[in-house]
């Protein structure tokens, strides 16, 4: 459509953004958590006595002594013992079976299961004092052997939960591939890929401020799904949800990591209610790195078969997923990888199997592109190995297998129904934007020159899923017109930096034919919007956008109905145009919205709108030069071609594509953590131990798009914003593999550190 000036920018760029940590509430206490230094162990003793003597400390509690709290004067604060973490059964992505007997305590009761798990909480008059108190808490833990990879945890010699297997969930999609297919195929390639655990690393870490007021609680949190947070906190506290209001102020990024409640949130809300005082937890970077959710974490084994012409015959993917210490949504995420295993190809037989394995690491959770990034990496790396085996150009191999535009909607062997696509168009545009043939010529020149640095070209064709899963594809909202003619749009979305404030009002204004500055958005507030789903799975444009477009039509209908009654005309003769209702002919009465409201009373339309899944796609291409002596990778060019259907605001979509591509680059080259011998990740120096790409690492970048509208969604829009995390990593890895052509491509595991690349180049 068009690019609008971002309403958020003036506030955010002039330092007037208001984040949870900026909210001043008199008498607010800061929480600091005492955390386990071991990955796995039996908790013997926690002594908070010394902490309580520290000046400025208001209280300190372990799980064992929380019942020692003086009774709270308030009747509503009569709560049971600390509730276990609520688990979310979101759209079949987790299951009760996985969670049963494996509840996540807010504070460790008897067994520590991941490093940094909270064993006590200290409240102080400010964070300094709370930390001074936390330093005085003594903790005795008898260490147990830690298992930090699926491989180590699978055999159940070390169990995280007595009497229960470490395998929390097993699943599969598609039909097993008959052995004869592999035997008779012209080429079968195999691969083993380790998808490292990643940190989502938003600029603002997690935040929660809980302010009790009588029998009510207001919670401020940088969050993606305030209604879910309200529901989960209410369940934890044993309250009806109506007594809790969750408000999301400015939020500094989320990338999937802020869509549920976490132990710290429950502890803070619980203590705020218990004490009848405002309490906040502002997670700092070191805490975040230690105990915020992880993304990815899959060990993959694949087989891919093709005939002599490179036509794909069968694909088999097995996943052993590291889902962390407690089964949560992350336990179901490998199913997303399985469902998306078919990718953009016409492969007739695809079978994916998985085991979600508990390990002594913080819980795995959605991280930008969850499930789909892993599916793309496994398939696209294998495609390059196959191209190499068959001696077919990697672009040509892909072209021969892409699902053609006339086959949509396309039912995949792994149970997905792709809505629309023109995959070859995206591939062609990527090749053209890259200058594919010229780079191949340069590669040939370098291969003939013993002094030239090796150069490789990597492609990655992807298809992903946006909007959510069945059961979570709806959103709630309303439009309300005031007597001043200002239109207020409300919905269940919550922005963590995606320009909702700009795009959604502009969308309503365009739908109604009024000026954008007449429309304002209220989102991220359960006090303003009773029901809501939230912003995740790239769903806001696709689902909330469709909802607001639908509400705009309802509003116009309602306005015409009222005008018809007012003027005593048949409703079908009243026209709606440019925010004004008109009678049937020239000279007939006309009335703008403000006047209509003044004449007929408050005007508001509310609804729940059901959208559908959509399947964005694209092709990413990278050129990489490798210094084989040092193992350094220099990305000379990165091209992303994405198709998210109808684009609402190109500037916003392109910025998301760029940002996610840089995150994808981080996934390929930099991001990863090492564990010490006791299973504790080495993160003591913060972001010096877990490297993110900086502005200086951003390669020459070209972002383009194609537009294949979705027939399944009201606006034709599909989700945007996760594309780079999904498509870019495999393009970069394939470029490095193409440069080095190692005999065993499996040595190139992520992140491609100089050491790994050097070993691959030897």
């Amino acid at each position: 459509m068009s690019t609008w000036t971002r309403r958020e920018d003036e506030r955010l760029l002039s330092g007037r953004g208001r984040y949870v940590a900026d909210i001043q509430v008199p008498g607010c206490l800061d929480a600091a958590f005492v955390r386990s230094r071991v990955a796995h162990g039996t908790l013997r003793d926690v002594d908070c006595a010394a902490a309580r003597q520290v000046p400025g400390v208001v209280g300190a509690w372990s799980a064992a002594d929380l019942h020692d709290l003086p009774p709270c004067a308030h009747a509503t604060a009569d709560l049971p013992d600390l509730p276990p973490m609520p688990h979310t059964v979101l759209a079949n992505l987790s299951s009760d079976e996985a969670v049963a007997g494996r509840e996540w305590p807010v504070l460790v009761k008897d067994r520590v299961r991941y490093p940094g798990e909270a064993v006590a909480v200290v409240l102080g008059e400010d964070r300094y004092r709370a930390e001074d108190g936390a330093a005085e808490v003594t903790v005795r833990i008898d260490p147990l052997p830690a298992v930090v990879t699926p491989e180590a945890a699978l055999d159940d010699t070390v169990r995280l939960f007595e009497g229960l297997s470490n395998v929390a969930l097993e699943g599969s999609t598609g039909q097993p591939v008959d052995e004869s297919v592999w035997q008779h195929a012209a080429a079968v390639v195999e691969g083993r890929y380790r998808q490292a655990l990643l940190l989502p690393t938003p600029m603002e870490c997690r935040t929660l401020l809980a302010v009790p007021d009588g029998d009510r609680l207001t919670v401020w949190s940088g969050h993606q799904a305030p209604h879910r947070l309200r529901r989960e906190l209410a369940a934890a506290l044993g309250w009806p949800a109506e007594r809790i209001r969750v408000v999301v102020p400015d939020t500094g990024g989320a990338f999937g990591s802020k869509s549920a409640s976490f132990p710290e949130y429950v502890a803070v809300a619980f203590l705020a209610v218990r004490l009848g005082r405002p309490v906040r937890w502002i997670e700092d970077r070191l805490e975040s790195m230690l105990v915020a959710t992880r993304g990815r974490g899959q060990d993959q084994r694949v087989r891919l078969a093709a005939d002599a012409d490179g036509r794909l015959l069968a694909y088999e993917l097995h996943i052993d997923a590291d889902v962390g210490a407690y089964p949560h949504i992350g336990a179901g995420l490998p199913m997303q990888t399985a469902w998306m295993a078919t990718g953009p190809y016409t492969t007739p037989r695809v079978h994916a199997t998985l085991r979600s394995v508990l390990t002594n690491t913080m819980t795995t959770y959605p991280y930008r592109g969850p499930g789909r990034a892993e599916a793309t990496m496994a398939l696209e790396r294998s495609m390059d190995t196959l191209a190499d085996r068959l001696g077919i150009d990697p672009a040509e191999l892909r072209r021969r297998n892409l699902i053609p535009p006339d086959r949509f909607p396309y039912e995949t062997p792994t149970g997905r129904r792709y809505d629309s696509g023109n995959y070859a168009a995206a591939l062609d545009l990527a090749l053209e934007s890259l200058g594919y043939d010229a780079w191949r010529a340069e590669q040939a020149r370098r291969r003939a020159d013993p002094h030239a640095l090796p150069l490789g070209i990597g492609l990655s064709c992807y298809v992903e899923r946006s909007g959510g899963e069945p059961g979570g594809l709806h959103e709630f909202g309303s439009l309300e017109v005031g007597e001043d003619g200002v239109i207020t749009a409300r919905c269940g979305a919550a922005s963590s930096g995606q320009s909702h404030e700009t795009v959604l009002p502009a969308l309503v204004a365009a739908s109604l034919g009024v000026d954008a500055d007449r429309v304002r958005l209220v989102d991220g507030d359960t006090g303003e919007q009773a029901d809501g789903v939230g912003s995740f799975a790239s769903r806001t444009a696709q689902v909330s956008g469709a909802l607001l477009s639908h509400l705009s039509a309802l509003l116009a209908d309602e306005a015409r109905d009222r005008a018809a009654k007012l003027w005593d005309l048949p409703p079908e003769t009243v026209r709606w145009s440019g925010g004004t209702v008109h009678g049937p002919h020239d000279g007939a009465p006309a009335m703008d919205l403000a006047a209509l409201v003044r004449a007929t009373g408050p005007l508001r339309v509310d609804d729940r709108f059901e959208s559908a899944m959509a399947f964005p796609f694209g092709t990413h291409a990278a050129v990489a030069e490798v210094d084989p002596e040092l193992g350094t990778v220099r990305v000379l060019r990165l091209v992303t071609v994405d198709d998210c259907g109808v684009v609402l605001d190109p500037a916003v979509v392109h910025a998301q594509a760029f940002g996610s591509a840089v995150q994808g680059l981080g996934q390929a080259l930099y991001e990863g953590m090492c564990f010490d011998d006791d299973g504790v990740p080495v993160l003591t120096d913060g972001l010096l131990d877990y490297l993110l790409p900086t502005a200086a690492e951003v390669p020459p970048f070209v972002g383009r798009d194609t537009c294949t509208p979705s027939p399944a969604t009201r606006l034709g829009a599909k989700g945007a914003g996760e594309s780079g995390c999904i498509g870019t990593p495999a393009a970069v890895v394939n470029a490095v593999a193409d440069a080095l052509r190692p005999a065993d491509r499996d040595v190139l595991q992520l992140p491609l550190t100089p050491e790994r690349v050097w070993r691959a180049a030897r």
């Binding site: 964070r127 300094y128 930390e131 001074d132 330093a135 700092d284 970077r285 070191l286 002596e629 040092l630 193992g631 350094t632 930099y670 990863g672 953590m673 090492c674 080495v682 003591t684 972001l687 010096l688 131990d689 490297l691 993110l692 790409p693 900086t694 200086a696 690492e697 992140p751 550190t753 100089p754 050491e755 790994r756 050097w758 070993r759």
Partner: protein
Amino acid sequence: MKPPVFDYVAPRSVRETVDALGDPGRTAAVIAGGQSLLLEMHLWRRRPDLVVDVNRVAGLDGLGVDGGSLRVGALVRHAAFEAPQAVPGPLGTLFQQAVTNIAHPPIRARGTLVGSLAWAHPASEWCAVALALDADLTLRDSDGARQVPARDYFQGPHRTARRPRELITSVRFPLLSDDTGVAFIEHRRTHFCFATVAVSATLTVRDGVITGSRIGLVNASDRPVRALAAEQSLLGAEIADDLYHRAGRAAAEQDAAPVAEPFADPGYKRQAVAVLVGRALRRAAADQRSRAAGRTEGLR
């Protein structure tokens, strides 16, 4: 990530500073740029009960040449060396090449060269430069001053010859002669992080023969390293390309004592030392040639 309680003083003179540092009842820390100290305090890895802020101390910000050496005062920020003409001759080029590898501009605007020497991180660029060039540190306490040569100063990771009651007031670097070529090359994973390995190299050539070389290794041990075996392999030799390769191998195998780090085991670090020393020497030789050509140009 909030520091424990500490006291703070901001003296105006060196005398007041060393008196504060000399208080036997206290654990004091000097803050200049604070780019390392503050982080360490936030992480509770250093817990001084007194922080002595020297930023208002008169006379510590001097940067100048006298008697054939460069004197760098305790308050001279990294950023001062970003222009090669800040320091005369090849030394200025070497400093300029080294300093651009230190973190990023905001850190270089606050952090100080002397602070880096005081902190003595194994991956510090300045520490290896100081060691390789035989820099001389001036340390002062309430009883007076003493000179400590860099070779006696570095004793391990974050361990030096500085006594807790001493303030490093300045450091002297000998200027480099015009027939010396220089190079500083750093290898790191992103522009944000510490060096995996870096190399500071000088090469002095007279009549086509190498008469001197000083090679400093960054993060090739638990402390800065002067690559004496590599230097030795070069002395008296006529300039030739395979020399540099050989010197690189000598540095990797005889001089370096790498410590394993995440994503860089000792074997890889030795490889990086070998490669970087070779490349740095090649670049220093090219620098030396272009300086010689420049002088010839000047004579005409």
